[in-house]
């Protein structure tokens, strides 16, 4: 049985945030079926994102299994990915997994930030008494924080 290509593609997990699908992460821009297959368009999160190859392989496997013989992956660079594109469902999953979802992406002119950024609420206890412990994390899209109320460290998806 052939399921809808969009549904199959959107359900592909992200290799670096496997609790989210690429649909929930907001990197899946377009899926359209052609006469002999399907064309999937992705916007990478960061310029150097090493996960694209994994995503390509995974998408191809899933769509092939769903009955699409030819799968073509296209990149779209503009507009650049924004963490605002993470869906409400995706945010709830991040929160439940102990990863703070991103706040609204900054808009307007880019400002130099010399002091601490606004605190990110702790995904475990909800306290906003948290500090950033590292500006970068294990993947390009995350930073590390620590909650001063429950004393737990946590990851947060950067707002970009």
């Amino acid at each position: 049985m052939v399921s809808g290509a969009l549904e199959v593609a959107a359900a592909t997990p992200d290799p670096e945030l496997p609790l989210l699908t690429i649909g929930e992460l907001g990197i899946l821009r377009d899926v359209h079926e052609t006469a002999d297959g399907v064309v999937v368009t992705i916007t990478p999160t960061y310029s150097g994102c090493p996960a694209l190859r994994e995503i390509t392989a995974d998408l191809t496997g899933r769509l092939t299994a769903a009955g699409y013989s030819r799968v073509e992956l296209r990149t779209r660079l503009a507009p650049p990915w924004s963490s605002d594109w993470i869906t409400a469902g995706g945010r709830a999953k991040l929160q439940a997994a102990g990863i703070a979802p991103p706040g609204p992406a900054p808009t307007g002119p880019i400002r130099l930030t010399l002091g601490p950024r606004p605190p990110v609420a702790c995904p475990r206890c909800g306290s906003s008494d948290t500090v950033a412990s590292a500006a970068f994390g294990a993947t390009a899209c995350k930073a590390l924080h620590r909650c001063r109320t429950c004393d737990e460290p946590f990851e947060a998806v950067k707002a970009i």
Binding site: S47, A78, L114, S133
Partner: protein, 284 residues
């Protein structure tokens, strides 16, 4: 499954969904599916040369940052520098690929099979950092300059370069904040950290003027004003003095963008290119 005599043979092959040997191996064309036709009215050769220069800046600097991995003072900073280097490597791949679509060469050919005089990076990115203060001093200068430049490049008529720039802006703004916060922390820290931060800035300062000097290959003009405002804000917050070291002289009127480099670039390329040149048919 038929096994080859040499098990390593399989590692270099293209793999399907279920036969990858490690996460992150294999590369996809960063411009796959993007319309790379040069728009009417755009000089393709000039566009390619400029993308190459910006790609070389990111490629060489990313390599110098990668040299810090396993040598950073703290794990958090190691992660930070690895992330910055990865973002810049991503920018380099996109820019070299963009140049390559016009020149008919692959990003690998451009990265690994050009010699020193064919590289067009500014001399700022070439030297090895002597210490952490020098690292954050150069990262502040590089990211502040490149951010200002990429904001301008979002408006160029080539939609591919404009998109690469727009994507890079967010990354560079984050790198700049990281570097600026460290410059403030060290400058406003102990007597020793202050002295070493000031010394780090003096060391890289001779390489700053070159990046703002107009070059015939530039696609957009860039005023230095915004850069100076940002750096003066950082210096004032950190209690550091604006460096006074004189600019590094050009050689016969030529510098990095003309293919005239410092001795340091040769060392970067020797390491960066050695594997690809030893195995010119290799794939990864």
């Amino acid at each position: 499954m038929v096994m080859d005599d040499n098990p390593y043979e399989e590692l270099a092959d293209e793999h399907g969904a279920d036969a990858r040997w490690a996460f992150g191996t294999g590369f996809t064309d960063p411009l796959a599916g993007i319309d790379t036709a040069v728009p009417d009215g755009v000089d393709g050769a000039a566009l390619a040369a400029y993308c190459l220069a910006l790609g070389d800046d990111a490629l060489v600097y990313s390599h110098r940052l990668q040299e810090w991995i396993t040598r950073m003072p703290e794990l958090e900073e190691e992660t930070a520098i690895a992330n910055v280097a990865l973002d810049l490597l991503g920018q380099a791949r996109l820019l070299l690929a963009r140049a390559g679509t016009i020149l008919g060469r692959s990003e690998d050919e451009l990265a690994f099979f050009r010699d020193e005089p064919q590289f067009r990076n500014v001399r700022l990115v070439e030297r090895a950092d002597a210490d952490f203060a020098e690292l954050v001093a150069r990262l502040l200068v590089f990211s502040t300059w490149r951010l200002a430049l990429f904001e301008r490049l979002c408006e160029v008529p080539d939609p591919v370069l404009a998109a690469i720039a727009a994507k890079g802006v967010n990354e560079l703004a984050y790198h700049r904040d990281y570097a600026a916060q460290w410059v403030v922390r060290l400058g406003d820290g102990t007597e020793l950290s202050h002295a070493r931060m000031q010394a780090g800035l003096e060391t890289i300062w001779p390489l700053v003027d070159e990046v703002f000097e107009p070059h015939p290959g530039d696609l957009v003009p860039l005023e230095r004003g915004e850069f100076d405002v940002v750096l003066d804000t950082v210096f004032a917050t950190a209690g550091l003095a604006r460096p006074t070291a004189a600019p590094l002289a050009k050689v016969g009127g030529r510098a990095g963008r003309d293919g005239v480099h410092t001795e340091a670039l040769g060392y970067v390329l020797a390491e960066l290119q050695s594997v690809a040149r030893a195995h010119p048919e290799g794939t990864w």
